[in-house]
């Protein structure tokens, strides 16, 4: 057993850190945050050149075919840099297409995704704002060889910059996963202005949008299983990203505590401040253990994977918010300003908390798997 990154994994992580320190400085995060989409073509292409969009894509489709641990290592650095834009939404879609798509569909979508030419997002949430796939109620009507959809999806990440929206709709008792081009007739996209400007969400309306039955993903398989699996992948990457964010907040708070002087000495010599920092470390490290464990179990198809993913997301959701809060507190007044970068991370902690299900949602999932399980 070796619960540490391997040498190549460490190198990958270091190179991600260097790349982001160069290409995604706080000034750029702030600039992108002020734009309508938080997306930048140049940055996206640079990310594609790093191979990150290809990381999980199988080699036969032009990808690197690496595992979730490698993804987590890179995502952690993205979180440390508070990388704005549609990486995570495209990753979610990538994992979904990989699981639900036919060979032909995979070739059609995954290759351009890996190359940075296609961005995709999954439209799942509705009024209830629940990440439970059972909550998707939007109906897909079969009509002369096509699915027809009329209705609204909410909180769709990065819809405006995605070329492809995968709409999750109900087809009888099952799910229809419908790839819709952003510009297709009947699709309209409206921003939902939200707290975290680095990760935009949208309301997407479908007005009699038609998708040929043959285009639906997962039509002849287990669409719901594929969606749940893809959610687990995206959730795990998000958890690793949250760990990176926590690490940034911790490092920044500790650095500040060493230099800021009050009462003639560094505030880091006061135990009230020290203990906040000690707790931040404990939470950050615990979150890291949980996130990488989830990544590893998913990669290995370990039977514990579903529980592990929910453990990671439940813990990270609470921990990032808490670490963010303590980071603000240690900084005093400056920590509450727009000027200090802490605000970026604090808001990111909040949007990450609810994305793919908050702690309450994931604890209930754990309860279903652990409490309800009949003892053998």
């Amino acid at each position: 057993m070796d619960f540490d990154l391997s040498k190549p994994q460490k190198l990958l992580k270091e190179s991600a850190r260097e790349f982001l320190a160069r290409e995604c400085k706080p000034e750029r995060v702030r600039a992108l945050m002020e734009t309508e989409t938080a997306h930048d073509d140049g940055l996206w292409q640079a990310i594609a050149d790093q191979g990150w969009l290809a990381l999980l894509v199988p080699e036969e489709h032009g990808g690197l075919g690496l595992g979730l641990v490698e993804m987590a290592a890179v995502a952690e650095e993205m979180g440390r840099a508070c990388l704005p834009g549609p990486f995570l939404s495209t990753l979610f879609a990538t994992a979904l297409i990989e699981r639900a798509g036919s060979a032909e569909q995979r070739a059609k979508y995954l290759e351009p995704i890996a190359a940075g030419e296609l961005r995709a997002t999954v439209a799942l949430l509705e009024e209830g704002a629940s990440w439970d796939t059972e909550s998707a109620k939007l109906k897909a009507q079969r009509e002369g060889g096509s699915f027809r959809v009329t209705g609204r999806k909410l909180f769709v990440n990065d819809a405006e910059t995605s070329n492809l929206l995968i709409c999750v709709a109900l087809d009888g008792d099952g799910l229809a996963l419908l790839p819709v081009e952003r510009g297709a007739g009947g699709v309209s996209i409206k921003p939902m202005a939200s707290m975290d400007g680095t990760r935009k969400v949208y309301e997407v309306s479908f007005e009699g949008v038609s998708v040929p039955e043959a285009d639906a993903l997962g039509a002849d398989g287990d669409a719901r299983g594929a969606l749940n699996g893809a959610l687990e992948v995206a959730t795990t990457a998000l958890c690793a990203e949250m760990v990176g964010g926590m690490q940034w907040v911790l490092d920044t708070a500790v650095e500040y505590a060493k230099t800021r002087q009050q009462f003639g000495r560094a505030i880091g010599s006061f135990q009230a401040v020290q203990h906040q920092c000690a707790d931040m470390l404990m939470m950050t490290e615990s979150a890291r253990s949980a996130a990488y464990y989830a990544a590893w179990t998913l990669t290995e198809n370990d039977p514990a994977a579903s529980v592990a993913v929910s453990i990671a997301k439940a813990y990270c959701s609470d921990a990032y918010r808490e670490v963010g809060n303590r980071g603000v507190q240690v900084h005093g007044g400056i920590g509450f300003t727009w000027e200090h970068d802490l605000q970026l991370y604090y808001k990111r902690s909040k949007s990450s908390e609810t994305l793919f299900g908050d702690a309450t949602f994931h604890r209930e999932r754990i309860a279903c798997l652990v409490v309800d399980k009949e003892k053998n």
Partner: protein, 392 residues
């Protein structure tokens, strides 16, 4: 990163699993936690330890020469997981196994190793830790129990307090002051003390939980040969730190076994006690709390395995052990609070489940005090891990 077991680790696991299957006493019900000082319970654990020892499964990480297996740290983790999985009784003499033994291995002479280690493993000799004093708790280096040199002996006078297992112990890892003039960290010596020596009086203290886990120990002109020094004279602080680091690093793996069994019992109980006419396990709030307890315990296991990975690369337990200690002690208090909420007034009964919940709840109060308080652990993390300036 590879959390799969290596072929060697797998073989180790399979072997131990098979051994446990054949050897865990069938009458052991697992939930029988009860208080620490019950004689039948202590005897039970002693016998169990003997069985483990004879099977070659005690102190597995210790060198083969001293009765261990030379097992890797990872095998140690596997060992604990398998104990938990088999619902086996825990090991007794944890102070000997997790604190005294490793310290003797690190700093003892060959004779000391040969004399003491095998009997710690077999459970034949139980150890206690004589560190804290009435006026030296968190500030351990302020200890005042005096040892004055007289020829080839030290003569000891003074008092220890909170000494767990002193009432049963055969031996004590004792810290004494041998140089009153030197700065406080530089005049301390560590002794391997025979608890049967003349002049030692043990007075049990009753704990909040009603049992007598810890004691006062009084020394009046106790004569100890100088050969009993562990480490060097006046360098006892180094010995103490080695012991404390081992204690913090090791306890985290040991307590998991107890916690896991406890949580499983709680989950099973939640199906039989009621909330609003339904099993508590169906109540949304109870489910949230059980899931939280479950995930926190899983994360304890993961944190421990990560710490072991890093320890197997660096060799010596460092201040990071404080994070583990802080985590598990506070975790257990939250979990016991959850248990009380689920069980309501039943949780306070001395007869319900053998008094398990009443005892575990109260006992958990001590978790954030023993082996260094949470405040002290946070100080250590802040100053020695994060590098913040000293607060005192």
């Amino acid at each position: 990163m590879d959390l799969n077991l290596t072929p060697n680790e797998q073989q180790f696991r399979d072997e131990f699993r098979a051994w446990l299957k054949a050897n865990v006493p069938s009458e052991w019900k697992g939930g029988q936690l009860g208080s620490e000082d019950r004689e039948d319970y202590i005897k039970y654990l002693r016998d169990w330890q003997r069985v483990l020892y004879e099977g070659g499964w005690a102190g597995i990480s210790w060198p083969k020469a001293f009765g261990g297996r030379g097992a890797t740290l990872m095998e140690q983790a596997i060992f604990q997981e398998e104990l938990a999985r088999a619902n086996a009784p825990q090991l007794i003499g944890t102070i000997g196994l997790s604190l005294v033994g490793p310290t003797i291995i690190a700093l003892g002479t060959d004779e000391q190793k040969a004399r003491y280690l095998p009997k710690i493993l077999s459970g034949e000799e139980i150890w206690c830790q004589g560190f804290s004093e009435p006026n030296a708790g968190s500030d351990l280096a302020a200890l005042g129990t005096k040892a004055v040199r007289d020829g080839d002996d030290f003569i000891i006078n003074g008092q220890k307090i909170w000494t767990s297992f002193a009432q049963l112990a055969d031996w004590c890892l004792l810290l004494v002051r041998t140089d009153a003039e030197a700065p406080k960290h530089k005049g301390i010596t560590c002794l391997l003390l025979d608890m049967r020596l003349e002049g030692i009086a043990v007075r049990p203290l009753r704990q909040m939980s009603g049992d007598s886990g810890f004691n006062e120990v009084f020394f009046s002109n106790v004569r100890v040969p100088v050969g009993q020094v562990l480490g060097e004279i006046n360098k006892g602080w180094t010995t103490a730190i080695t012991a404390l680091m081992n204690e913090r690093a090791n306890l985290g793996t040991g307590v998991q076994v107890v916690f896991k069994r406890n949580l499983e019992a709680l989950i099973a109980r939640s199906r039989t006690v009621e909330r609003q006419g339904r099993p508590a396990s169906e109540d949304p709030l109870v489910r949230q709390k059980l899931a939280q307890a479950f995930l926190e315990l899983e994360i304890l296991r993961l944190n421990t395995n990560r710490a072991l990975t890093s320890l197997s690369k660096t060799g010596i337990p460092g201040p990071e052990g404080s994070t583990l200690k802080l985590y598990w002690s506070e975790m257990n208090q939250r979990t016991q609070q959850t248990a009380q909420e689920i069980l309501g007034p039943y949780g306070q009964l001395k007869e319900f489940d053998n008094g398990l919940w009443e005892y575990a709840y109260l006992r958990s109060r001590g978790n954030t005090i023993e082996a260094g308080t949470s405040e002290i652990q946070r100080n250590i993390i802040a100053e020695r891990v994060l590098g913040l300036p000293k607060s005192y």
